[in-house]
Every structure is written in C-alpha cells, then in structure tokens.
C-alpha cells in the first residue's frame, strides 16, 4: 500500500471531538492495516468517528449497515439475474447478455475494494449478523480479495481501505474475529468532554445554558430503571430545542423545570419515569 497514504495522520474533524487516546489507536490501526473494532454504548460516537476520519483524510466513506438477515455475498457483490433474464428474453438493452460480468454489481465491500482511491469502510453494527457472517467477512478483509463465482474472477483490493467496525453488543464477538482487529471501547463522555462536544456543535452557546443543560442531562442519566438512557445525540437535540424556544430561560433548569423531556426520553415508560422524577423534585 502506498506510503503516501500511510503517512496521513488522523487528527480530528470539524464536527467531532476526538480524545487523544482514540486518535492514537486510529493511527496505529491504520499503520498496521488492521480493522479497528469499536464498542461502547449507543451515543458515544462510534459511527461518527468513521465519518470524521473520512472527512479528515479526505477519503470517500463507504458505509455497510449490517442487517440480521444479511449474507456475506450481499456485502461483496450481487449477480443481477433478473435483468439478465429480461435482457435475454427481449434483447433490447445495450448490455451483452452472454457477458455475465455486465450483470455483476458491487456490494459495499466490493465498492471499497474496487474504488480508485483509498476509502474508509465503515461496517456498522456488526453484532446484528450471525457469527458465521462475521468470521467470513474478516477472512475477506484479511485477504483483501474475494472471488466472484459466476465469472470465476478474483477481485483484489486496489488499495487497502481503512476499516472501522462498530458493535453495540455487550457480549464478545468470536475469538478469530477479535484476533484480527484492534479493539477500543469508547466510554461515555464525562462532563468535561461533553462541554467540548457541545462547544463544537454550538460554538456561540450561552455558557449558562450550557452548564445548566449539561448538569441537568447528567442528572437525568442517573435515573435508574430507565431503558434507554439519553445519549449525546439526545443532549444536542435537546439544547437545540431549548435554544429554539423564545420563552425559555436557563434559570428554569436550575429550578428543576425541564421542558421538552420527550427529546431526551423516547420510550414512553422512560418518559413517564423522568416526568415523575422531575415533578417529584420540584415539590421537594
């Protein structure tokens, strides 16, 4: 792989706050040409990282959203039999029916391999697929090539993509899988980090609003028996909602009035629970 590529270093992007540790791991994975497996609770920016890397290194981003019913072949290529059947029957297209290659469409991994330029390949939520899929896919990513059975041709990667894999699962992936990637667990950002993240998204945010909103946010995260805790995305949307409301004053938050709870809590039980907690505090 070209030296000009590996010389590039990842240093953060405009909309993404990067902690030093993670930046180092990204750079090491790129230099070792190994996929990076990211775990962490939802809302810690696993997916955003891939976007940030692509933006920072000016590489195109290819996203493979893994689905539970997905087969590995779907991610590699697709043989469009229906079109071929149709063409052979009616013969009115410009394609050459006897040339199967014209009916092969690349899947996401195939696209990353055949791209002219080095790409960032994000494989999102790998835990949704079954173990066989994961292992087989890692084989392909290890070899950097796959076969198209229909035309007996091997597709080899022109340049090795930067591979980011995310997983929400608490359980470990299989050992052979883990053996082939580097691993990092993104912890939920602490208040300090959160301030920087908010600062990136709202550069001119009133500092009083920021402080109050963040402290209220961490308070709400502490509620127990909540199924889906609000994450960074919810906080950003919530601040956006608060900013948009002309009647809202940051002081209200200190008094324990939390408007737009629905932005933070999206499950009806959680919402009721949060509502209850907020009301309870106001009476005290």
């Amino acid at each position: 792989m070209g030296d000009d590529n590996s010389a590039k270093q990842f240093a953060g992007a405009t909309r993404y706050v990067l902690d030093q540790e993670l930046a180092k791991i990204v750079n090491i994975s790129m230099a070792l040409e190994m996929p990076l497996l990211l775990k962490g609770e939802p809302g810690t920016g696993k997916t955003m990282l891939a976007h940030a890397i692509a933006e920072n290194l000016k590489m195109p981003l290819i996203v493979l959203n893994v689905k539970s019913s997905m087969k590995l072949i779907d991610a590699l290529y697709q043989y469009d039999t229906l079109t071929r059947l149709n063409d052979s029957r009616f013969g009115d297209s410009s394609r050459n029916v006897s040339n199967i290659e014209e009916y092969i469409k690349m899947g996401k991994i195939g696209q990353a391999f055949t791209a002219e330029q080095r790409t960032v390949l994000l494989i999102d939520e790998i835990d949704k697929a079954d173990t066989d899929f994961q292992d087989d896919m890692l084989d392909v990513l290890d070899q950097m090539e796959f076969d198209i059975i229909e035309i007996d041709k091997t597709i080899a990667a022109k340049s090795r993509p930067v591979i980011i894999i995310t997983s929400n699962a608490k359980k470990d992936l299989s050992d052979p899988f883990l053996g082939r990637c580097n691993f990092h667990h993104i912890a939920f950002p602490d208040a300090d980090m959160m301030r920087r993240i908010i600062g990136v998204h709202f550069p001119d945010l009133d500092s009083e609003l920021m402080e109050r909103a963040i402290s209220a946010f961490y308070q709400m995260r502490k509620l127990d028996a909540v199924e889906k805790k609000p994450a960074t995305r919810e906080l950003i949307n919530w601040i956006r909602a608060l900013k948009a409301d002309p009647d809202f004053k940051p002081k209200q938050l200190a008094k324990g009035e939390l408007p737009y709870l629905g932005v933070l809590f999206k499950k009806s039980q959680d919402y009721a629970r949060a509502q209850h907690a907020v009301n309870g505090r106001r009476i005290n």
Binding site: K24, I28, L32, S69, L82, L85, K171, D172, G179, F183
Partner: protein, 396 residues
Amino acid sequence: MFIKFFYKLKEVGIPVSPTAFLTLQKALGKGLVVTLQDFYTASRAILVKSERYFDLYDQVFAHHFRGAEMPDVEGLELDELARAMLEAWLQKPEELSELLGIDESALNKMTPEELIEYFKQRLKDQDEQHHGGAKWIGTGGYSPVGHSGYHPGGMRVGGVSGSKSAVKVAMDRRYKDYSLHGPLTQAMIGEALKRLRNMVPVGPKDEVNIDETIYQTMKNGGEIEIIFDRRLKDRLKVILAIDNGGWSMDPYIPVVQTLFDYAADQFKDIKTYFFHNTIYSNLWADPARYKKPKRLDELVRLDPQTRFVIVGDASMAPYELMASDGSIHIEERSGLPSIECLNLLAKTFPHAVWLNPVPASMWGYTRTISAIREIFPMFELTIDGLEQAVMHMMAK
C-alpha cells in the same frame, strides 16, 4: 521486549495471543510508539479485545511499569472495600466515623490515598469476616460500608484530568465496571436470548425465487414468469411464566422480568404470566395473581411452536405438586394435581424449558425439583444455563 509483561497479562487471565503480541512488536518496530502513554494505548488496543479485561490490564500495567502492588484475590477484595469505604465517607462522614469509632476531624486531615491505606489497615485488623452483622464491615451487612456501598463508577477523587500519565490513567481503573465478575445483568441476558429466533416467511411477496423463476419460465416456453416469495422474518412466539410467589424468588423477579421486556424488540410476540410455586389450572397475567387469570385450556390452543419458558425455584412441599387439591390458594383447587398440569404443558409445547435460580448442585436435595426435572428440561438461571436453554429451545 515486554515479554514479561505479556506473560503477566496471560497469567492474570487475559486471553492474549502470540499473534497479537507479534502485531504489537510490529507496531513498535514501525516507530509508532514513542512514549509510555503510547505504549499503554497501543498494547491495549492490540492485545486486549474486550472491555471486560480493561480493568485487569490497567492493574497489570500499573504493576509492571510502576511497581504498583499487584493485588492478589484477597487484596482485591480489601481494595474494593476500602474504596467503598472512602465513597461512603465522602458522602456521610459522620456516620462512618461513628461506626469505626474514630474522630471525623482526624479523617478530614488525610488525603484520599492516606484514607484508603487507613481503611485497608482497618480491614486487615479485622480478625474474621462478618457477613450480615450490623456494625462491622463485610458483605451484606447493614453497615453503610461494604459491598452494597460499592459504587461501580469508580473513584475519581481530586478530579484528575487533562494530561495524565499513562500509569496514572491505569491506576485510575476506569474500566472497573466492565469487569468479568458480576451478577447476571439485564444486558447479558438480552445477549444470550438474541439467538432465540424462528425464521418464517411473512409479509409481502417481494423476494425473487430464482430457481422457481427459471423453472416456470422454461415451462412457459421461454416466456418470462417471475416468481416471488415472502421474505424470511423472525416470528418467534415466547411465553414466559414466572414464579413470583415465594420469597426465594424475590431477588430474581426484576431481572427476569426486565430481561424479557428488554428482549421484547427481539421477539415480536411475547406473553408473560405469573404463578406461585407451581402451575395449577390457571396462570395469571397480573403479577398479583388476582385479576386476570389465563386458563390452561386456552394456552393449550396456542401454536405448539411457542417457546415456553418457566422461571421458578421449583421448591415446595411435595403435596403441592402431587395432590389433587395441592394448591395453597383455595380458589385454585381444581381437582387436577399440578404435576398433571405440568405434563400437559410439556406435551403441548415441545420447546419448553424450566430456568431455576437455585444452583444446579443443590437440585438433588429437593424432591420437587427432581420431579419437575423429569417433566421439563431444567437449566440454571445463569448466563451459561441460559445459553444452554436457548440452545435447547432452538433444537429441532
């Protein structure tokens, strides 16, 4: 280089592989790792593949590169207790100093490190373990100090932030709450249940069946005939019956209940019922077992492919199971002994399991457990048992 470190990691039980170690050497060889901080990050990303081992890694790292005390098992316990005490002290200084019989102001003068040392010393002085006592320190006591006071968030005294040295980061043990040791949590159960699936064709016919299409086209003399199939979707039906009667089941109800709620996205169709000790002619849809009875005769009419999961300790007086009027609730006496009802359920639902929170090693000592095991395959309510149960339910 760092071979001792590698073996130390292996020794404490982190699954590190030689290949990964070689990868680390490669990273070192490439000049990517300059500082100790770099080494900490790089070797963790390459060698340690699960956040559950991050905490252990931190400890080994601190030990190896700064000679921090390598906690033996006992020390670990002390360590945790001491930290728990510190937390408790930070929250309620008066209470703790009273319990330990020391002057609050004396403690106030100490730094957090000194405090921890002090607490550790106190714990070592303790002659024997006290579990459940009211004054001393131990597990499950009333005293605010001990396991129950332990806060998984870990200690962050002094608010260290910014540019920390790697050793300090490691000393922080940020990953403590992901450690391997811990009770069965909702998330873990949700993971184990993910494998319960039953793929059946449902929904609109929108997937092309190529083989069938080619066959029909041939039959048609070349006139294209495209055959569509329904997509395969997960449509597993699950019935969960929970014993929420006896006190012995109390600790397990929330975790079992939430786990199945948690898994509700996974299973499109899940019903929860309750019973006490064993099942008679009714199950109850309300936890109080009072308002909404569900007759067994109705259940029997359901899809036999339904996965029937019973959670209970299966421990009761033998007559409750065997006698025709065995129920301790008078309104439930229907004339049919419970064991017959259970047999009926097992016959109706071939994919049924019984999950028992009682440890498997104790099963032989309770007669009713043995009797029920003859009817339902029984598994321990642990992460392993749950996985076995899932495997059993998915077997054809």
